[in-house]
Symmetry: C2
Subunit: 433 residues, 2 copies
Amino acid sequence: MPPLTPPHVGTVPGSLSQRAHWAGGPGAISLLMAKTLARPDLISLAAGFADYESLPVEPTGLALDRIWSDGALVRAALQYGTTIGYPPLREAILDRMLQADHATAADLRISLDQVVLTAGSNQLLYLVGDVLLDPGDIVLCGSPSYFVYLATLANLGGRTVGVATDANGLMPEAVDEELARLEARGELPRVKAVYVTSYYDNPTGSTLPEDRRAALVEIVQRWSRRQRIYLIEDAAYRELRYYGEDVPSLRSFDPAGDTVVAVGSFSKSYSPGVRVGWGILPERLLGPVLAEKGNLDFGSPSFNQVLMATVLREGLYEGHVARLREGYRVKVDAILAAAEEFLSPIRGVSWIRPAGGLYLWLRLPEGIDTGLAGPLFSRAVDEGVLYVPGQDCFPREGCPREKNHLRLSFGIQCAESIRRGMQALGRAVSATL
Amino acid sequence: MPPLTPPHVGTVPGSLSQRAHWAGGPGAISLLMAKTLARPDLISLAAGFADYESLPVEPTGLALDRIWSDGALVRAALQYGTTIGYPPLREAILDRMLQADHATAADLRISLDQVVLTAGSNQLLYLVGDVLLDPGDIVLCGSPSYFVYLATLANLGGRTVGVATDANGLMPEAVDEELARLEARGELPRVKAVYVTSYYDNPTGSTLPEDRRAALVEIVQRWSRRQRIYLIEDAAYRELRYYGEDVPSLRSFDPAGDTVVAVGSFSKSYSPGVRVGWGILPERLLGPVLAEKGNLDFGSPSFNQVLMATVLREGLYEGHVARLREGYRVKVDAILAAAEEFLSPIRGVSWIRPAGGLYLWLRLPEGIDTGLAGPLFSRAVDEGVLYVPGQDCFPREGCPREKNHLRLSFGIQCAESIRRGMQALGRAVSATL
């Protein structure tokens, strides 16, 4: 049975807080970035950055011209805003979400007051974790999951418990079973949330089908006996769809609106440098999240919010996303073709076919350790390619951490570099068998 | 003896975290803002906003043009940055600070690696609190102090202990005595920091003279026996000097650089909407703060950082700050003249004469309660003026909370409105005697 207290309790030297110790070190990604800077010849299939060529230079320039031609707008951009964020942008975000879900605000019992803006959706995820978790509290996550949020939850002293996933993402019956197991251990009261990236998951690329969405909401509500268990829906990649149809959000399966925390971002679909994210929160979390945000930074920069509101209002967003999708579709095709060409001949290699997003999740033969200290990683660097080791994406408890996966991002490289990178990876894997 | 545990421990209902309960409610300022919105005819001397007329519309427009004329710059603005922040801006900040302090990086043992950017300096203050404080840990603060940071520290479960101040700010001997008192109680190991707004304090307007700076650094270092006590220097208002000479920073009295956390911001001197703040951190705090920031938001928006770097590099900053100083000097003259005219005739009223910043701290006759629920506040609203009640600016322990102060901000109103507001306040005070 795992300990109720988080790791490192009682081992704090010096004058740092417990949380500072839980925060961990710079992490694998920082090490990877240092590696990238030191070896500019490497083809990085590691970072989840946006494509440099597709950054919205023109639409952002037009939006800024528009702002500078309107005295009230430019002053709103340069002055303090409110903690919850710029109303016209919150309105536009809500409208877009309702439109995508073919729903009205009344259908989903959402009011504008529940839409909170942050500088990137990660801050929203942090705030929700902070108002829900005491040290030792539990969040159920897919095994694997978005590794930055796993680190954030650990930083808060939370326990992450991994639940089985397949090519369609988090398995509802596995969530149900894990909750039953936790109840049998008397740990159900510690479970505060289930976290899921519902569209084109980071790292697996999978998307939850409708039936799983409905089942997840039902399961989470059914187990909310002692206290409300929230379902945190990270929809950061929703707009990056290259194939198939959009699926209604998890939030749309929770018409009462007291279970799902809907989280979104313009970082992936527009600009990571402008960095505007949001949450649509259940009523009960709204006050606590805003109070914490008030203490943290009393509101994110209004400049960025006025800018995004103008981009949306002036109709500059849709065209950009359409171009982005077109560009990334070429790249996902390139990485899938290259995987077929260079990796499918190797026995024991498989992957999940993503319909959107930025990632390809690759399974290698059992026994290959993809870690930074393992033989594959250094061989891959020698061959000229970088990837993210999959083992950092596994929650600390629950499903065992698997060592033979890696995450590839096709966002930043051109199709030709993707092909060469995959060829290099194929050579490295073959050499490591 | 005050309890070692923070308030509310053991009284947590529902599924929120302990921290969510410590975060408190929306606070006096939110209520004041709601009041302002509901009664646009009121003259607000409450909010510490920047002057609308003096927002940097032109220099920001020029900087954006410059960015858009340089492909590399515009891509840096729209792409992800690093957690620590954009190097050219960090360099410019360090250069400016060293210049102001007539020191070299070698004199003060500062390297560029120690300069961390955040979206507003409040986030830096939050992060430092978070990596230092466990629930029940203590920060010594002036009595009164910047109320947002008092709320932030309470949110973290910290205890704020108030130390006496006078017209020259925090009194070093009072800090010394309080530390001796805490040691006698066995609580010295819980003291993690002393917090001070060293220039044109919020709320008192006072500035620490050089001898107090040297004494404070010496005292804090002398009491760092069991663990390092940090001296957090909030220099957000340093550039807003209207009278007298600049004083070297507290950091310049700590040449080894292991005691002072130097915090600054462009929110007050340039634009609160662009919202770029920074910290120059002791080596030992650097890793922990960056790890936490990585988990919180993995870096503040690069757009704002590239923008501020360009404003500085293109020489657009100095002129703006000079104009701002000129405008605010007229206003501080106006509020001081109005205080003389309308308040000095009332016995028992006094104030601290600010040489910079945005605030006038007013002491009213004993027995007048300036609180939101008290008779003065509603009378002031009836007379047409808003202020910030002083009682929210007092730490929870130490020096007793005084009820007969209020904070006035002269930032946002024109000289004529300031005069009318002060006249209204004079009427309200007279009527409440």
